[in-house]
Amino acid sequence: MAATVTLGVIGSDAHVVGITILEQALSAAGFEVHNLGVQTSQEEFAESAATHDADAVLVSSLYGHAEQDCRGFHETLTEAGVDAVTYIGGNLAVGQNDFEETRRTFRDMGFDRVFDSETSPEEAIRALEMDCAHSERDTERVTA
């Protein structure tokens, strides 16, 4: 399974530790990882995913502005011709929010999976293995 993954931290967020750990774990698990690093714009995500024909786009956000930063994200991907599963993870709201509510918000915005900040790299890998096996190019889209 050499699925291709685009990874980055969106917006002005500079929390790099989580994606560094994720990158290493995904690479070790055999994925082809394109890590865009921190403070990545929607356009940069779209461009990289399009260029590398990514199977999955993994967005990380820790600093609490994810909602603002992700407005229109899926439109940007579509415009660039990207058809990949999209995950988002980290601390997705400012403050002590109920995660279920947060998950619903990001689901409604179009993300296929939404992860909280207790997510281990192994959980991300398990999900990717499921979803990328499923999809293996444009078949059905997971709706979990």
């Binding site: 500079a14 530790v17 290493q24 991300a124």
Partner: protein, 496 residues
């Protein structure tokens, strides 16, 4: 050209004019009138005086919300219920990016919906008058805490707004906080901030400056953190700053933390001119926290113990909700009181730890080697040296997101839990130092029966949030994949 030299008066005025044009609120800044405002403040709000004359470590939380009224009641709570000695105002991330329009949108959204649309207080958008309302409303001195690479307008407005302490610096607010800002630019921008602080200082209004010691907050070797503090302190002093609080973030090993704080104080006093008053600030653990308030209280407790033994001038506290997100004001005050209780129970005890001197010696030697490298890289000019040393990796910070640093150095804990350097990359330290670190890490590798590898680093990054200090393999414990009792919510893959 970039040089570690004082900005001439005329240039200061020119930049000041430019900067103040960046957002409408900049126009309200008037230096002379601001000096008068500061003079009108009572002694209890003179940040440098309060800090420098304290007879015990002072406690300060972090806190910032979008709206003024909310910020006032948040700080009142921390002052009254948390018994904070010093208060903070943490600035939102858009302001840190100089995206004042976005901050404005967030502020207006917050005002309309009451929701937390910003992760801090947009001081630039609020402007001078509203900053002063904040300063007037509280009893304790307030510091601006942010993470802004180009903080010139923020400084102009908040200094005029009555704040007398300002966190950050050209390295410590660039390397951990952003990707694309060049170090040369940030140094110039902070020369302006420091010069402005110097200008107030010359008029009798001491502005305390606090380089951000924890850097990326993630297993930063003390020698690296201290070298950065010394260099930033030097740059600030050149511009006329006379009250400098050098910072250090807890690594969790008692002996190493005590040694590091002593080294920081000692080298700070030695390296900086006598006309600079050097104080130290200790940050409670800045890395990933356990996803459980009870366990987080254990981490905070260890911060309090360390502070009680090392006696820094100031302690920045954490809250038990650190893992989850911006804490409620109650949790923030609770973190202060847990720390206070520990501090006050332990600080009168004479606690001398064996091995501090040796560790301190190693830290000092390594830090001085790094400072020397900076000076060599700049042919004696620290400003130039910083840019060059970072570009070449001779000076480096682990997990640095910034393109200005190599970010190739990697830390790992030794068998005793002290942070050592696992991958030096281009870090310019002597072979002797490398060997010492290598031996310590070999010892751990032997104990664990595994090779040194990135996995070890990753395990160490997670260790405290998993309930221990050293990321040993198969230690069981509370690993993220396990089902932690304090877990507020399972990850997606579990929930589905």
């Amino acid at each position: 050209m970039l040089r570690d030299e004082r900005i001439p008066a005329e240039q200061l005025r020119r930049i000041d004019g430019d900067v103040r044009g960046n957002w409408p609120t900049g126009q309200a800044v008037d230096f002379e009138e601001a000096v008068e405002f500061h003079e009108s403040l009572p002694a209890s709000k003179r940040f440098a005086d309060v800090l420098e004359n304290a007879d015990r470590p002072l406690l300060q939380p972090r806190a910032g919300v979008a709206r003024l009224e909310e910020q006032i009641s948040l700080l009142e709570h921390l002052q009254n219920e948390g018994q904070a000695d010093l208060l903070p105002t943490t600035i939102d991330s858009y302001t840190r990016d100089n995206q004042y329009e976005k901050a404005q949108t967030g502020l207006e959204e917050a005002r309309e919906t009451g929701k937390a649309a910003l992760n801090g207080f947009p001081a630039v958008n609020h402007g001078v008058e509203r900053c002063r309302e904040l300063v007037d409303a509280l009893d304790a001195p307030i510091e601006v805490r942010h993470g802004t690479p180009d903080a010139r307008l923020l400084a102009a407005i908040t200094f005029a707004g009555g704040f007398q302490s300002f966190e950050g610096g050209p390295i410590s607010y660039n390397i951990p906080y952003c990707k694309e800002n060049s170090l040369a630019d940030t140094i110039e921008h902070w020369q302006f901030v420091d010069r402005l602080a110097g200008a107030y200082t010359e008029r009798g209004i001491t502005i305390n400056r606090e380089p951000f010691g924890p850097l990326t907050g993630t297993l930063v070797p003390p020698s690296i953190a201290i070298a950065v503090m010394l260099v930033e302190g030097k740059l600030a002093a050149t511009q006329g700053v006379r009250s400098l609080t050098l910072g250090y973030g807890q690594v969790g090993n008692l002996v190493q933390d005590v040694a590091a704080l002593r080294a920081l104080k000692k080298l700070g006093n030695e390296y900086l001119n006598d006309d600079v008053t050097v104080t130290t600030v200790f940050h409670e653990w800045m890395g990933g926290f356990p996803p459980d308030e009870a366990r987080a209280n254990g981490v905070i407790g260890l911060g309090g113990t360390t502070a009680a033994i090392a006696q820094p001038d100031k302690v920045i506290t954490k809250s038990p909700q650190e893992f989850q997100g911006v804490p409620t004001k109650e949790a923030n005050a609770a973190g202060l009181r847990t720390t206070r209780q520990m501090l006050d129970m332990v600080r009168e005890q004479a606690i001398n730890l064996e091995g501090v001197d040796e560790e301190q010696e190693l830290i000092e030697r390594t830090a001085m080697e790094l400072v020397d490298t900076v000076e060599r890289h700049g042919d004696g000019d620290v400003a130039l040296g910083v840019v060059d040393a970072f570009a070449s990796g001779a000076l480096d910070v682990p997990f640095a997101p910034s393109d200005a640093a190599m970010g190739a150095v990697l830390p790992a804990r030794d068998d005793d839990g002290r942070v050592r350097i696992f991958e030096f990359a281009e870090l310019d330290v002597s072979d002797d130092v490398k060997e010492i670190h290598g031996n310590f890490l070999d010892e751990r590798a032997r104990t664990e029966g595994r090779k040194r590898s990135f996995k070890m680093v990753a395990d160490d990054v997670d260790a405290i949030s998993d309930g221990r200090l050293i990321g040993r393999p198969n230690a069981g414990g509370n690993s993220r994949s396990g089902d932690d009792p304090g877990a507020p919510n399972g990850g997606e893959s579990r929930a589905d």
